[in-house]
């Protein structure tokens, strides 16, 4: 099973944190109780580490939060396991003064396993390493995320506006953006 292989490979990044299992029935928790727990985990300061999600509810299996310094390492592990890149996007957590980048990976074979890698950067000077050296297809996705959120991807070969006009100096998906 690729799920276990991926978990083992990713666990190397977090020697001190246990993998949390939020799948229904996994830890004898009823789904209703589980629902109550989730908001705390999802919305606010979550520790770096791996969380197993209920595929039927969330639509993905492995949810990994890494430090920006670990991002390239995590993506390289995913690449070595032959995942394909689905998309990169951002989320503006304005209350916590943070920007989150979300990387989606999935598989071409029938061993279904969706992996989400998240990483957070400060809202004032958002900067993350570019993964274009590993996945060439990240190029446009990173440019788009730069357009919408202003995250600077260090090492990106061509970080100019993609969807926005070429002279755009605004980032429309930031929560404090006023048209």
């Amino acid at each position: 099973m690729i799920l276990d292989t991926t978990l083992t490979a990713l666990a190397v990044l977090f020697p001190e944190t246990e993998t949390e299992d939020f799948r229904s029935g996994a830890a004898d928790t009823e789904p209703a109780e589980e629902e109550k727990k989730k908001p705390k985990k999802d919305a606010t300061s979550r520790k770096n580490g791996i969380i197993l999600r209920d595929y039927a509810v969330h639509g993905y299996h492995i949810d990994v939060q890494v430090d920006p310094s670990q991002l390239l390492e995590a993506v390289a592990i995913i690449d070595s396991l032959e995942y394909f890149i689905e998309s990169i996007t951002g989320v503006d957590w304005i209350k916590e003064e943070q920007l989150e980048a979300v990387y989606d990976f999935s598989r071409y074979d029938f061993d279904l396993c969706r992996v989400v890698i998240r990483t957070r950067t400060s809202r004032a000077t958002p900067s993350l390493p570019s993964i274009t050296s590993i996945y060439a297809g990240a190029n446009w996705h990173e440019r788009e995320t730069h357009d919408f959120f202003g995250i600077k991807f260090e090492g990106h070969p061509h970080l100019i506006p993609l969807l926005l006009p070429e002279d755009a100096d605004f980032h429309p998906l930031l929560k404090d953006f006023k048209a």
Partner: protein
């Protein structure tokens, strides 16, 4: 007598294709660095009809935003709406009646054929054959008529609702769909004789712009672009959703990776869609098309949700970050052609410009869907 003009050996020039060019099927621009007729380097410029659908997603409530999804891809609108309603139903835990889910599958497949037909006509026209477009549009018109009767629109359908459908289908829909399946089977034979077996057409496409499996993976390609390169990937099979596990259908896969493989995949997909429609009409259960108590206000619980569907253009993903209010906190649309088009820059290097345009046609571009 003036001196003859001498070109330097390594001299290149930049050719600007688009943004208004018939071969790009919309406002797409490609800056090509040319060495004579050969492409040295290319840079695709997109965003000319960017409408910021994702920001609209944050500003509108869920039902208000629903109609935006059908404005993304004007040829295969229902597939995108399907993804959105499935996501919201999953997040809110809304039960969908079986009949509604069957009708959704049937209409999505009809829409897929309509989209592929338009692509087929336009693609052959790109290569210089005009009449197949007319035949394709004639067949497509039947689908538009069938869908217009039940959905009320011909292109930008907003037929689904959270929990079911807007309108039930009747006997005439079933009858006309069956008639269409018969008609389409004949047409597919005609297309095979007219286009697929045509020696000029085949010589033009075979070996044109081969893509490797690795390129597809690095760029996240899907639909016929991936399936033409030997990747057996279709969200309907790999990640079953809706009632697709109930149907018996195959995923055509070719390993050549060239434009002909992509062409053949899409042509055979139409046949498979016909099979799904036929089985769906046979199995169509009775019953309601909406749940007994559809939710009046859509407020998904706090969390992060993802739903992928196979639209006419490939793997469409939609991610919702909900904060428990009436509006999404963040709504990301992952469009399939965006990833498919992205690999064009790398893969068209070294091609003749007319071969690159054939390659571009084989990707099946719908620009509003790339730009969102």
């Amino acid at each position: 007598m003036s001196e003859p003009v001498r070109l330097q050996a390594d001299e290149t020039f930049v050719l600007n294709v688009g943004p208004q060019h018939p071969a790009t099927h919309g406002v797409l621009r490609v800056k090509m660095e040319m060495d004579g007729e050969y492409i040295v380097n290319a840079e695709t410029v997109i965003g000319y009809i960017h409408r910021m659908h994702e920001k609209m997603g944050e500003l509108k409530t869920y039902p208000q935003y629903y109609m935006n999804l059908s404005r993304m891809d004007y040829l295969g609108a229902l597939g995108y709406s399907h993804g959105h309603v499935l996501l919201i139903e999953k997040a809110c835990g809304i039960e969908v009646p079986e009949r509604a889910e069957y009708i959704r599958a049937i209409t999505v497949e009809l829409n897929r054929i309509a989209s592929h037909l338009f692509w087929f006509g336009a693609f052959v026209m790109d290569l210089g054959g005009f009449s197949p477009l007319m035949y394709a549009l004639q067949d497509r018109e039947h689908i538009l008529d069938i869908l217009e009767r039940i959905t009320g629109s011909r292109l930008t359908y907003s037929y689904y609702r959270f929990g079911g459908l807007y309108n039930d289908v009747d006997e005439e829909f079933v009858e006309s769909s069956r008639r269409f399946v018969q008609r389409m089977r004949k047409s597919l034979k005609k297309y095979r004789r007219l286009v697929t077996d045509n020696i000029i057409f085949r010589k033009r496409l075979e070996g044109n712009a081969p893509l490797s499996r690795e390129t597809c993976r690095k760029y996240g390609a899907s639909s016929a672009v991936a399936r033409g390169s030997g990747i057996n990937y279709d969200v309907r099979k790999n990640e079953p959703y809706s009632v697709y596990p109930e149907f018996d259908f195959d995923i055509p896969v070719y390993s050549e990776g060239d434009s002909m493989a992509r062409y053949k995949v899409r042509m055979e997909e139409m046949e498979q869609s016909l099979r799904i429609i036929e089985q769906g009409l046979d199995k169509l259960p009775g019953g309601p098309i909406m749940p007994k108590k559809p939710p009046k206000i859509i407020k998904p619980p706090v969390g992060d949700y993802y739903q992928a569907v196979e639209t006419a253009r490939g793997n469409f993903g939609i991610r919702l970050v909900s904060d428990g209010t009436k509006n999404p906190y963040r709504l990301k649309l992952r469009s399939p052609t965006y990833s498919n088009m992205h690999l064009f820059d790398e893969s068209c290097r070294g091609l003749l410009i007319m071969d690159a345009l054939a390659f571009m046609g084989s990707i099946d571009l719908v620009i509003p869907e790339i730009d969102r």
